[in-house]
């Protein structure tokens, strides 16, 4: 059996890649994709801890992951809708050009 650590390292790597994507990429869509990577890293942790945990015969982590996937799907739908709306308003979807929240002082 593959040791638990392998899963955790894998999930951590996935999470870091996702985080790096969120921080580095400027395209909103790419940021959303990176967010999905982070989601899935969390899901892998859920599954791993469920399988290696105390109660693998109860489907806590399993069901949690299923829900998480479903909610991630909903979240993508909203995210893409937002991306389209942002594009309509600003005519681009570069994250670093969406700085309207900043207050211009002097």
């Amino acid at each position: 059996m593959i040791p638990l650590n392998f899963y955790l390292f894998f999930a951590a790597a996935l999470f870091s890649i996702g985080l790096a994507g969120v921080l580095i990429r400027r395209n909103t869509i790419a940021v959303l994709i990176s967010l999905e990577l982070m989601f899935n890293a969390a899901n892998i942790n859920f599954i791993a801890f469920w399988r290696y945990g105390l109660m693998p015969e109860q489907f806590g982590g399993y069901l949690f992951t299923l829900f998480s996937i479903a909610i991630a799907a909903a979240e993508v739908a909203i995210g893409l809708a937002l991306a389209i709306l942002i594009y309509r308003k600003f005519r681009n979807i570069e994250v670093d050009r969406l700085n309207d929240l900043k207050e211009d002082i002097e």
């Binding site: 921080l23 994250v95 929240l101």
Partner: protein
């Protein structure tokens, strides 16, 4: 080989899905490739469906599947079933689908979005075939939603037309109302029985006497819980199959391209509701009251559709109301005579209604987009092949005696209803009479009467690629009836073989003669009223208010708008009033507070507080400006700082713990 055939049966559903997936990635210019791909996909389905049919004829029913999700000891299985019902339906769907796909290629030739069209069409075919072969309500429901989506996409295919968009939305929302009931029904059924698979080595819903003990248990308002489940599931079927009161979406769905109307809104998808009831018939039959409700809703739908069809002027709308009416008859046949009767009419109807719709498409194509039957006429000469095929479909739908499939299938329904309930029988006879009448009206006005089109307009016959499917469907509209005559009911036996003992009904000559007479008199009446060269409907002057009421579809749409839309508007008005009241209270409060504040300010606030407070604010502002260089409104930077903070926080905690 004998083992391979059932396993490969799933290709029936997978091939169109694959075609849809590939053509989704095709460029817009690859019209021909996408059409060929779609046709190849559905041809593969047809081949495997026929293999499955032969297998069932020789080996009997079987289910095949694999474990889909295995969370522990209990696996969720994904399985498909080969039985007379599924294989015959799959063969019919893929066969009619293939013909319509070929026809569509010619019909949609000039459209720029042919690739998208065939993608949606393949998606639909895949969903429909999955629905047909699935062995559990869960998979069936998923496929059910896929065909609903495909129907939505195809009705709104010409999304630049506002009516098409509105019709698509209406269809989606109306069927969704039924689907909610369906889903609740499935969940309830699962909680009652612990299974939603149909056949599973004696543990399925439909097998043995599994449900017998709970058939009468748990009375709620006089109906057992199982009966409520059946009613809820019937609600889903009513949404999909356009039964009262959820029929309003089907006529509007004719905004889609005509091949779509033929395939989805006449032959296959709308029949899915009927198929569902046929599939679950062994459950329904346990609660006779539910069957009565189904029969009554069916016959009322049939009556309403037939009456409304009389007063429509759009060729596709007439056929749409006719479809609603025939779906009602199928439900009636199911409820009174069992799956064999209802499914026989479903199959026969699929052939001749697809034929009629494709014929109507050919007419519209030849008339350069004209759909009003009062602006057509004399097409017998200019479109001979279309006319001949259309007349075959017309005679089949009207139930012209002995030669056409519609006669035999309708005769079976009438005979079953005659044995079931006499009131229902009389109503069904009225439906048959009206059917023959309005179809004669349509055919007379479009093909036989002198042309009323604008001068100098010449209709032209459609290309071979469009007339060939018509001819094939016409042959089936005649030939299909002979596998289900009362003397040799091969189809009935084939279906009944699976569902156990079916009442062996003898030939009812009274009903047969009566239904022939009814069909003939309907045709005769239609001929007498509509011969000649009139420009308006003679019934319009003679029936007056009634005709106008029918032409306006009994104002059912308006009623829904008034009840549901009006209700929503009223609620929002009420909420608005409540909000206004709240606002008034708040304003009063704020006036009091403002008054107090004014007094306090005068009493020395300005000298006491302002001095110290202003200085503090200045300090804050200066500090804020210093830090502002960090806050540039860049989300990524903010997240980056956040991440840094978390990492350092973790490092600190970690070092402390060590």
């Amino acid at each position: 080989m004998s083992d391979l055939c059932p396993r490969l049966f799933c290709i029936v559903a997978l091939a169109p899905f694959l075609a849809a997936l590939v053509s989704a990635f095709m460029r817009r210019e690859q019209k021909k490739n996408s059409a060929i791909l779609a046709i190849a996909g559905i041809s593969a389905s047809l081949v495997f469906a026929l293999c499955g049919l032969v297998y069932v004829l020789t080996h009997g029913p079987i289910t095949v599947g694999f474990n889909w999700i295995v969370p522990g000891a209990n696996a969720i299985r994904l399985s498909w079933v080969l039985d007379p019902l599924s294989t015959s339906m799959a063969a019919m769907v893929s066969f009619v689908g293939l013909l319509i796909f070929i026809y569509s290629y010619a019909y949609m030739h000039d459209d720029v979005n042919v690739t998208r069209f065939f993608t949606f069409l393949s998606l639909f075919a895949g969903g429909m075939l999955t629905l047909v072969i699935s062995n559990s309500l869960l998979l069936l429901f998923m496929a059910w939603e896929i065909v609903g989506l495909a129907s939505y996409l195809l009705i709104g295919f010409w999304y630049h037309k506002p009516e098409a968009v509105a019709a698509a939305r209406k269809a989606f929302i109306t069927t969704r109302v039924g689907d909610i009931f369906f889903l609740i029904g499935i969940v309830w059924l699962y909680s009652l029985t612990g299974t939603i698979t149909f056949l599973e080595e004696g543990r399925g819903l439909l097998e043995g006497n599994r449900l017998q003990p709970i058939a009468a248990a748990g009375l709620i308002f006089g109906l057992p819980a199982l009966g409520w489940c059946c009613l809820l599931i019937f609600g889903g079927a009513a949404g999909k199959s356009g039964q009262i009161p959820l029929h309003v979406w089907l006529p509007d769905a004719m905004e889609g391209p005509t091949p779509v109307s033929a395939l989805i809104h006449a032959a296959t998808m709308v029949a899915a509701g009927v198929f569902l009831i046929a599939r679950l018939y062994p459950v329904f039959v346990l609660v006779p009251l539910v069957l009565h409700i189904v029969a009554w809703i069916g016959v009322l739908t049939a009556l309403l559709g037939a009456f409304l069809a009389v007063a429509q002027n759009d060729i596709k709308r007439i056929l749409a109301y006719s479809t609603i009416s025939q779906l009602g008859l199928m439900m009636l046949g199911l409820a009174t005579g069992g799956p064999a009767v209802g499914m026989f009419h479903l199959m026969a109807h699929a052939f001749f209604k697809a034929l009629l719709f494709l014929g109507a498409g050919s007419v519209i194509h030849g008339m350069a987009g004209e759909q009003n039957i009062w602006k057509m006429g004399g097409l017998r000469k200019s479109m001979p092949v279309t006319c001949l095929c259309f007349v075959v479909g017309y005679l089949a739908l009207s139930g012209f005696p002995f030669l056409f499939s519609g006669f035999w299938s309708k005769d079976e329904i009438l005979a079953a209803t005659f044995a079931f309930d006499r009131t229902l029988f009389v109503l069904a006879v009225v439906v048959s009479l009206l059917t023959a009448f309005y179809m004669t009206r349509l055919v007379m006005l479009v093909f036989f009467n002198p042309s009323r089109a604008a001068d100098g307009f010449h209709a032209h016959e459609s290309p071979r690629l469009m007339t060939m499917p018509l001819i094939v469907l016409a042959i089936f509209s005649i030939g299909f009836g002979f596998i289900g005559t009362p003397w040799w009911n091969g189809f009935g036996k084939f279906l009944a073989g699976h569902h156990g003992a079916e009442a062996e009904h003898h030939v009812n000559y009274f009903v047969m003669v009566l239904s022939s007479l009814i069909a003939l008199s309907g045709i005769g009446a239609g001929y007498l009223v509509y011969r000649g060269r009139g420009l308006t409907d003679p019934l319009e002057t003679r029936l007056g208010v009634v005709y106008r009421l029918l032409a306006q579809r009994l104002y059912i749409d308006e009623m829904y708008d008034a009840v549901i839309g009006g209700g929503l508007r009223m609620i929002s008005k009420l909420l608005n009033a409540i909000e206004l009241a709240f606002e008034l209270v708040l304003r009063l409060l704020s006036a009091v507070v403002t008054g107090l504040a004014w007094i306090l300010e005068k009493a020395g606030d300005r000298y006491l507080v302002d001095g110290s407070f202003d200085r503090m604010c200045d300090g804050l502002r200066i500090t804020g400006k210093r830090f502002l260089s960090v806050q540039r409104g860049q989300i990524t930077e903010t997240i980056g700082y956040g991440t840094l903070g978390v990492v350092f926080g973790c490092l600190i905690v970690w070092s402390l713990l060590k």
